[in-house]
Symmetry: D2
Subunit: 333 residues, 4 copies
């Protein structure tokens, strides 16, 4: 079976692996598509994602495919089903799992991170993380269910209302998902901040946002009820807090570097009664993400800038392929 | 009518004022007790509180008394009722008032701040902010309903559960209220941080907390689900965030200085999925505060360190009276 | 000034009234449009609405217009502003008002019910209930802000998610608003139940719902996560509860007759863990309603079946005009 | 190993069973105490509980004990730990499990219902449902963690506040837990309804409630913000709804008979804006239940009317032992 194996830091090779065996609670999936994201770049570079990847391992935590086999305890999918897989597997035993915060699980494991994922012909996953998808959802779009589900989870930590004005900082793939999600949830005054004027102009047109800001040049008015930070830099985190009006909520969605800090005004957090909220992965959000994609409420296919083969993945990860906004790997037909 | 008038920055004098007239929607209250808090110190020193005080004005935004007269549109209290007054008056017309966030009102006014308050024989207030109190609640304790209501509002911005472990930083009057409130709402693992060992020892004994920390010496373990910051300094705000474990909520209750900042780790807000929440005054919290005081669930009388007369107030405000933890003014019998 | 006055039970006449005077907190509005709803039919017939109407009074609690004068304390609108008026006025003094449930106010009054409303050339309202509208919202559509706000409030009592399947029972004007609102809030599997096949077919096409049921003939499967009852009959309330699957929420939005009851299964409320939720008018929902209408997310103009004059209103109320789905009165240009 | 086996409808016998083997994810518990509740009576009589019991099976879904062995994947407990076991096991694969409503799991199984429970010397359970308990919690009290957790879950479906007035209908064991829980969560105006005057008098004294009602004789005023129905009869469900004031929440906690119905007023659900809420078992509530018991906030030991042996259990279940309020079985020392 053809597999793209991460064999060490910044090392990958195509190998012929035996097809994995299915345990009683597991499902074997023939991969259709696998998405590539920043976490894959981190893992390729030897850095941690939401969990740690120890080579040799097959990446691919965003994926879709067809059920090829099921273990004897599996009841939620059957052979032939079109599915998408939530990579994150919770231990069920720790305090976090047992107080309804599984995303903070002390023993988090993940398909495509701590165990083999979608960058190979077939992979296994516990049935509990395998979701059937409706006919109206393409396998290509379904490969982005995981990032959509992270944004859905982020939104669930906020309290948004139609009258509010929202700003998304960072006009990459996640930012583009958030703009659509805000609109899908009833918020229609959404603005966008980025660093490349052409991309901002494109996003303004595509998503019907009102104002765009180039954070390297423009100052953002303190006029937003909801701010989504989707970059992960101290300066954009600070800009996110500064863009708030009284009563605002800031979602700190971007993943920063462990040794960096951002600062905020001691008095304003009180006087504006701010809420600053972190967001970590995607608990209980797959069903919503699938519904949003299947209804056409969220468009992801037009945001996929590159469709590549297993052989091309390393060049996407090491940056040789330029201008990647979102890449998906076509693993098989 | 005897009144203590703030006549300028750091200037106060006893004057004989005419008794105020009652408008159709107003209540005339014969003051029993008025509480003194940090906001009064700020106003005395010419700094803003939640709103600005322009001398000449009579301070006293925490208070209790007896209804002496009511306007013709008043239905909720009658002459002779024992009452406590919520100082904060919301305009009703601004966007904040009309989206259920009156505390952020663009035109906030306040009894004892922008209009005459309790430091005089009688004062008026709109009926909408005058609350009858039950017999089981003393007029002295009722004079602290406003600070209790601020803490109640702060709690309402959090989601607390019995299994959680809480830390209160700042063992002054507000911190002492929060420890009691956490317990009243079902959280029984509560710890306390301050700067004076004797006071910490006293509080530990009095409130049955498990651990205390002297923030000038001890490092606080990153082990808390809920942290209440009730000091208002950058360093304690930073300690509050650092004391969190995964999934924690931090209430930034302390009021900082306008020109100061605190910083937090860029990566941890994401990886711990933190919530940092400001809290501003006390909307819709008076009925709860009265119920908590009347049931005996919250004890405030034993926390009142000083009972003073109108003549002694200025020495409390300018710091001549030392060791004040909580002072109330006995205005009349 | 031309006014249509309710002079007694089922009695109305056009009269020439003096133009009302504006009190300090009030706004004078030149009416553009007034909507007619079931509450007006009840008031015309001598029955109570959300409050009681005592003739002589001018109805018209749904309305829009232009500000003609403002009292001296008014800051939120100015002469010439295009506005819509929330009819409901809360006393501010009762326990409900002071525990953040003003809709349950013990002393509710209402423009167009307890005081003169929009069925005359000009009417007054407290500034706190007058809302400016953006240019993108027509005065005709704005006259339906009140019913939209009731639906918005109903939705705020539920917890809806994209994965859920919703059913709206009653395909009248309110039902049509709810279908759109569910979609605006991210729920895209919405079905519809009514009693007239042609209307159901029309609604199916217009709103893109999947299934329709004729409640006089079809049985509804117990398959819905969210059910909105928008009829107000015992049988449809029972159908609403029976259409639930485990974990469902039922919004009892329809207004029943005071002497009727509906019944539900004693065991199922437990075993399905049902939530049955009543909804009463529209607190804090005007800003959202305006935003939804102004963004184009909700279409109401195409749902207005009749545009009439003041002279024609009585025939709409007494049923002489047939086939009225939604009528608005053009009061002036 | 000594075990009390349910061998058929209303048939039980002491048998000598082999000690169960521990699977990789499981824990072997030496039972200390097992509680007996209404569900056990139902299962004994051949009726369903939250799930179905198929004889031969060992009942005992409320229990505590000492860890005797652990499977190789178990990390949350170790041999010798004092523990209590949550009986309910969720499949993890169904839509309910994956939308954060595991209590409604389509494939619910349960220790002491669908698999052997605590009425034997030792039993196994998945590690995910085994909870260590602190020293301050006795094994006897810990055997009631499951019913406490059901009440905790019920409370989590409500929004309670200190100013509210609550009524608990049904002064049995669950009602007694709810009165304590309401107080533990800050509600101190709690009243109680039952059918036996002596028991009501006892409960009034014990729990410091203000008013008691005998539902066979007294009419209950429509004066409650929160009503907990803990009987499960149509008449008490109807009384629960009728005891509400505007804005009230009713928790339908009692388990009714499948073929019974209760009725409510069509108009009042709207005009009072009522919330009627079912409650099913106990998701994510064990940690809170343990904390409440361990802190002393909830007292259960004094509510245990009978401590029996395995040999006496059948007489408790078939009603030969009279006057049982709460029975626990001492299985071993
Ligand atoms: N919380 C979670 O669970 C979670 C899940 C997924 C992702 N994330 C995080 O979300 C963030 C966004 O992810 P992504 O996949 O969208 O990444 P991405 O494609 O790299 O997008 C980041 C975007 O931010 C823009 N940007 C960079 N510096 C900026 C600045 N100073 N001001 C404004 N915009 C700036 C970039 O512009 P250019 O394109 O011009 O460089 C890019 O468009 C990342 O930090 C990622 O780790 C978090
Ligand atoms: N958000 C709101 O709506 C609201 C409402 C009311 C009050 N507040 C704010 O809440 C804060 C507390 O109010 P309060 O009335 O309790 O004031 P307080 O009586 O002055 O109490 C502050 C306490 O913090 C202690 N403290 C000072 N520095 C500390 C440090 N580095 N580490 C730990 N503890 C330290 C003080 O110790 P010593 O006694 O030894 O000096 C004192 O006990 C203030 O900032 C106040 O403005 C906010
Ligand atoms: N809770 C609140 O705050 C609030 C606010 C506004 C309105 N409401 C209530 O909401 C309800 C709907 O208002 P509306 O303005 O939409 O009234 P409406 O225009 O009369 O609509 C009711 C719809 O229900 C249909 N219907 C009648 N019997 C039915 C049955 N057995 N099964 C299914 N559908 C049936 C009617 O069909 P036909 O058209 O063929 O007769 C009509 O389309 C009313 O009860 C109203 O009082 C409540
Ligand atoms: N939702 C859940 O997850 C869940 C979990 C556990 C239990 N439950 C249910 O909760 C209910 C209470 O459980 P329990 O263990 O407390 O049962 P219990 O001990 O039998 O208590 C029921 C109490 O209700 C009293 N009662 C009977 N008829 C009454 C009436 N007409 N008016 C007022 N009181 C009346 C009984 O009085 P006497 O003692 O004088 O007979 C008894 O004290 C049961 O229906 C049980 O199935 C539900
Ligand atoms: Zn875990
Ligand atoms: Zn305001
Ligand atoms: Zn009121
Ligand atoms: Zn399940």
């Amino acid at each position: 079976m053809k597999a793209l194996v991460l064999t060490g830091t910044k090392k990958m090779e195509i190998q012929d692996l035996p097809e994995p065996e299915v345990k009683p609670d597991e499902v074997l999936v023939n991969t259709a598509y696998a998405g590539i994201c920043g976490t894959d770049r981190a893992l390729y570079a030897g850095l941690p994602g939401s969990a740690n990847a120890v080579p040799p391992v097959v990446l691919g935590h965003e994926n879709s495919g067809i059920v090829a086999a099921i273990g004897k305890n599996v009841t939620n999918v059957k052979i032939g089903d079109r599915v998408t897989v939530d990579p994150n597997i919770y231990c069920g035993q720790c305090d976090y799992c047992r107080t309804d915060r599984p995303e903070l699980c002390d023993n988090l494991s993940a398909v495509g991170v701590t165990r083999d994922g979608g960058l190979e012909k077939s992979f296994t996953a516990p049935a509990s993380v395998v979701y059937p998808i409706p006919d109206s959802l393409s396998l290509k779009a379904a490969a982005t269910t995981e990032p959509v589900s992270c944004a859905v989870h982020g939104m669930s930590l906020l309290d948004v209302k139609p009258y509010q004005k929202a700003l998304v900082i960072g006009d990459g793939f996640m930012g583009q998902l958030f703009v659509q999600l805000l609109q899908a949830y009833g918020v229609h005054q959404v603005d966008f901040a980025g660093i490349i004027d052409e991309k901002l102009a494109f996003n303004k047109e595509k998503f019907g946002v009102t104002n765009t800001y180039n954070t390297t040049r423009d100052s953002i008015p303190a006029d937003y009820d909801v701010v989504i930070e989707a970059v992960g830099l101290p300066q954009t985190q600070e800009q996110a807090v500064e863009a708030t009006k009284k009563g605002a909520q800031v979602l700190m969605f971007g993943v920063g570097k462990p040794d960096q800090t951002f600062s905020m005004n001691t008095y304003e957090v009180y006087q504006k009664q701010l809420k600053i909220q972190g967001a970590f992965i995607n608990p209980y959000a797959f069903k919503d993400a699938i519904a949003l994609l299947a209804s056409g409420e969220m468009d992801v296919e037009s945001l996929i800038s590159h469709e590549v083969t297993l052989e091309q993945v390393e060049d996407v990860l090491n940056g040789k392929v330029k201008g990647v906004s979102k890449a998906v790997v076509k693993v098989s037909d």
